[in-house]
């Protein structure tokens, strides 16, 4: 974008949000080049709107000027989802962090996109409710970002991910309109489920400016167990044994030896440093039942090779275990200056063989790979440790990542379970979707965003040319041909 264009754009944006909340100073916009992934790209302008109406106006201004828009709130994406790879305008939701309504009678809460996930549950607690999806970054990530990526978390094993808990959205569309889809009621009786379609679209269909979510009564008791295993294979076989036993816990998490070391260094949560692997299990419900399930689960764990099963004796101990688990990625900073995290999914029964193959990759390449993940739903998070200051390591790690995701895809799984495709996994999406599959998705994207301005360069494969909008990759542009019957065009 040339300087004159930028100044003109900035002037129009400032007229909407005020001088303080739109800026293009090259120094200041540098602070919006990153998220929690290793990717970076500089935006031209940053806008911090205060209301949905302002967001819609900002989008309209950008659309009129054909400038790409990337929405960002906590920027805790692990896949580069909020990195403005085609430059343009970054819209951040630091000011739109209000809980608009807690409507316990209808089991709903209405929030702005910048509301931090955990703070919603904290606000609900006095009313006896909570918001179920709990990504490990819930202390920072926002509901708006959760909607973008259809975020999961440990406790979604039993209760479902973000899309299962969102009933309505107010959207700022590329056209500059503000449209409400869904709402307070449960489900849609007439019309396409645009709410469900939008959740997980990673900002490529528009921007959610208001979100209706389900809230759920807090379980009376939660019991957390830690089962200690000699190695990862025994632990992953145990996961299937637990599922087969007929108990589906609220969460089943696995941590391997390396992760335990990092977690303990960071939080002293009480994980045994000599364990080969640990399963963290949680059951919730009424006290008598939780007691019974806890005992049954402990029995299954022991029978499946656990050397020790420890039950968190009070809420403080339980919180400590979870805090350790949820801080695991960041705790890797203790083991290695850099890491690269993947988000592959495999069918539960394929866990042992997949983990063994990942181990073999680690042995072959010499890079340490730790595993801390949602074992219950087969959602792996292999973390490849490396040092970005050593030449060649980053490229090598990217190749390892590709190889691991290919493994997951070949096992009948997916290349992302909750982090999103973002910028990083655009090419990996081909492991699971054919050109035909992607073409249908691309057509749908085109309906929402005909000029390719909404978070361009994400989700879909293809080369990204920095600063080039619209973004449509040539090999995935919908192909049109004349209708043999004449007149109308059809897709071929």
């Amino acid at each position: 974008m040339d300087a004159a264009t930028r100044e003109r754009l900035l002037g129009r944006l400032r007229a909407v949000v005020g001088d303080r909340y739109a800026f293009a100073d090259p120094y200041e916009v540098r602070l919006y080049q990153y998220d929690a992934s290793p990717e970076t790209a500089l935006p031209d302008v940053v806008v911090i709107p205060g209301t949905a109406a302002e967001v819609a106006q900002v989008v309209k201004i950008c659309a009129d000027a054909e400038v790409p828009i990337t929405a960002r709130s906590a920027a805790s994406s692990l896949a580069g989802g909020t990195v403005p790879v085609q430059r343009g305008v970054v819209i951040t939701f630091a000011r739109m962090d209000r809980i608009l309504e807690i409507d316990a009678d209808n089991l709903r809460a209405v929030v702005e996109p910048g509301v931090v996930n955990l703070s919603l549950s904290q606000a609900l607690r006095p009313h006896g409710y909570y918001y179920v999806p709990d990504p490990s970054s819930q202390g920072a990530c926002t509901i708006g970002g959760n909607v973008g990526t259809n975020a999961g978390g440990p406790h979604t094993l039993l209760y479902g991910v973000t899309v299962n808990h969102v009933t309505g959205l107010e959207l700022a569309l590329a056209s500059g309109e503000l449209v409400q889809v869904g709402g307070r009621k449960a489900g849609s009786a007439s019309g396409y489920d645009l709410t469900g379609l939008f959740v997980g679209s990673e900002g490529t269909m528009g921007i959610a400016t208001k979100i209706w979510v389900k809230i759920q009564p807090l379980p009376p008791v939660q019991k957390t167990l830690m089962a200690v295993y000699p190695d990862v294979e025994t632990a992953s076989n145990a996961v299937s044994a637990i599922v087969r036993s007929g108990i589906l816990p609220a969460a089943i998490e696995m941590m391997d030896k390396l992760s335990i070391q990092a977690i303990e260094a960071a939080s002293h949560a009480g994980y045994p440093l000599d364990a080969g692997a640990v399963l963290l299990l949680e059951v919730d419900g009424i006290p008598e039942l939780v007691e019974e399930l806890g005992e049954r689960m402990a029995k299954v764990c022991r029978e499946s090779g656990a050397s020790e099963v420890r039950v968190a004796k009070d809420e403080a101990e339980r919180q400590a275990l979870w805090k350790g688990r949820k801080g695991a990625f960041s705790a890797m900073g203790r083991l290695s200056p850099d890491f690269y995290v993947m988000d592959g999914v495999v069918p539960r029964t394929k866990l042992p063989e997949t983990l063994a193959k990942i181990d073999a990759i680690s042995a072959r390449t010499g890079y340490k790979i730790c595993n801390v993940f949602h074992a219950g739903d087969g959602n792996l998070h292999p973390l490849v440790l490396f040092d970005a200051f050593k030449p060649g390591q980053y490229e090598a790690v990217l190749r390892i990542g590709d190889e691991i995701l290919k493994l997951c895809a070949d096992a009948g799984g997916s290349v992302t379970g909750e982090h999103g495709i973002g910028l990083e996994k655009r090419e990996n999406i081909r492991y699971i979707f054919s050109d035909d599959d992607l073409e249908v998705m691309d057509r749908i994207r085109h309906v929402f965003d005909p000029h390719g301005l909404m978070n361009p360069g994400k989700v879909f494969p293809g080369e990204v040319v920095e600063g080039s909008a619209p973004s449509r990759a040539p090999d995935h542009a919908p192909r049109r041909a004349a209708n043999v019957a004449g007149g109308d065009e059809i897709w071929v």
């Binding site: 019309g191 959740v199 043999v484 059809i490």
Partner: protein, 420 residues
């Protein structure tokens, strides 16, 4: 290519008058029927229809064919009856992949053999197919506890008029790669593509089941008890408010007007505690627990009640929980009602003559946060009614989506919202 050549290129075969009858939709009959052997076959057939272009109505078990407006055109019936295989099922993964024409009961029986189930119970599972359940978003009585179809579908393969068979989602329970097109097709009434294969996540069958029938003096008390149960821990698996006639339809006679029927499922201890809690709530609301002895067909009949065979008119309101009273408030005194208060859903069987006026009153009462549709009606009545109500906000996008995926408008033309 001339017209004749194009007709000759259509898939399937021309059918006799007798063969036409089972494929009647709102007084319209097809001239051809096509029965694809599998997903690819369906895609090829659709491509031929699109080239013509000729209007296609998709048939599963036919249990929801009276939902939606009458088709604008109808030439080809596409029946999924040959696509009925269970393609993959790994009990330890709690997932399966099935063809869209598989009957729900067959699927449930296969799951049951492994102690598992799909907690979705749309009406008439002996006839209803998996694909039809998705297209019509047909849900049973467990929606407040177990969610709806959208919460259990993890992958989908859809045949499009372009002749492409395209997938979305996958076989694993957690997956955010690509767009969630499952959501788009569920409830789309087959207007965007033909659902050919579906991947589900399933669950372990609950340990125990129990039922509780209670008598309450007013619909308000019954509804309030039902919603109160949903707002606390230990919600029942199903909570249904029935009027006297609906109760009779479900095989029970009673001398009281309003019934709250509760079904509990889960671990034994949990069910016991839930039943105790419900009992005390019912008593607090001035109700009387009538017992747990119900005819074996009670829950099945209740499940099928909203999709009756024959010429009955069923109107359905979906509203926020707090708006249910307003819905009951405008119903005529002797209405035949079955409501799921915890899901904000009220089904009413209305006499054809009053259908239009009741619909109007319900729409006013439902407000802008509610939706009121005609869930089933004979063709003659439909002509007088706006079955979907006013198009929702976001309708321009819906129309554009239809245009993008079915540009020649061959799929179920006119049956969906706003003439889609």
């Amino acid at each position: 290519m001339g017209l004749n050549a194009r007709v000759a290129a259509l898939p399937g075969h021309e059918i006799t008058v007798e063969e036409q009858q089972p494929f009647r939709v709102d007084d319209l009959l097809p001239s051809r029927v096509v029965r694809p052997a599998d997903a690819q076959d369906a895609a090829r057939g659709l491509r031929l229809c699109d080239l013509a272009p000729t209007a296609v109505v998709i048939w599963g078990g036919g249990t929801q064919m009276r939902l939606g407006a009458a088709p604008r055109r109808y030439e080809v019936a596409l029946s999924t009856e040959r696509m009925s295989r269970l393609l993959e099922y790994e009990p330890a993964d709690l997932t399966c992949r099935v063809e869209a024409g598989m009957r729900l009961r067959d699927l449930q029986e296969a799951l049951l053999a492994q102690g598992q189930r799909l907690p979705l119970e749309p009406p008439h599972p002996d006839r209803a197919t998996v694909g039809g359940m998705l297209a019509a978003n047909a849900n049973g009585l467990g929606r407040a506890r177990y969610g709806t179809v959208r919460d259990w579908v993890i992958g989908i393969a859809v045949a499009y008029p372009s002749g492409k068979l395209a997938r979305a989602g996958g076989k694993v329970v957690k997956n955010v790669a690509g767009y969630d097109l499952m959501k788009l097709h569920i409830g789309a009434l087959g207007t965007l593509g033909v659902i050919a294969e579906v991947n589900f996540k399933v669950q372990t069958r609950p340990q125990v089941e129990a039922t509780l029938i209670a008598h309450l003096d007013t619909p308000a008390a019954a509804v309030d008890t039902g919603t109160a149960l949903a707002r606390q821990y230990l919600a029942p698996a199903a909570a249904v408010v029935l009027d006297q006639s609906a109760l009779k339809d479900c095989g029970m006679t009673a001398d009281w007007r309003w019934t709250l029927a509760l079904k509990f499922e889960g671990y034994a201890r949990e069910v016991e505690a839930a039943r105790d809690k419900a009992t005390s709530l019912i008593r607090a609301a001035g109700g009387r627990v009538e017992g747990d002895d119900v005819p074996s067909r009670f829950w099945h009949a209740a499940r099928d009640w909203s999709a009756p065979d024959g010429d009955l008119v069923v109107v359905r309101a979906i509203v926020p929980l707090t708006a249910i009273h307003a819905i009951f408030g405008v119903l005529p005194e002797d209405s035949q009602v079955m409501a799921q208060p915890a899901a904000g859903l009220v089904d009413v069987r209305v006499p054809a003559a009053f259908a239009a006026s009741i619909l109007r009153r319900l729409r006013t009462a439902g407000g802008d946060q509610g939706q009121v549709i005609v869930a089933a009606a004979p063709a003659a009545v439909k002509k007088e009614l706006d079955v979907w109500g006013p198009p929702p906000p976001g309708f321009p996008i819906m129309r554009a989506l239809k245009q993008a995926l079915d540009p020649n408008g061959i799929l179920n033309p006119g049956r969906f919202v706003g003439g889609i």
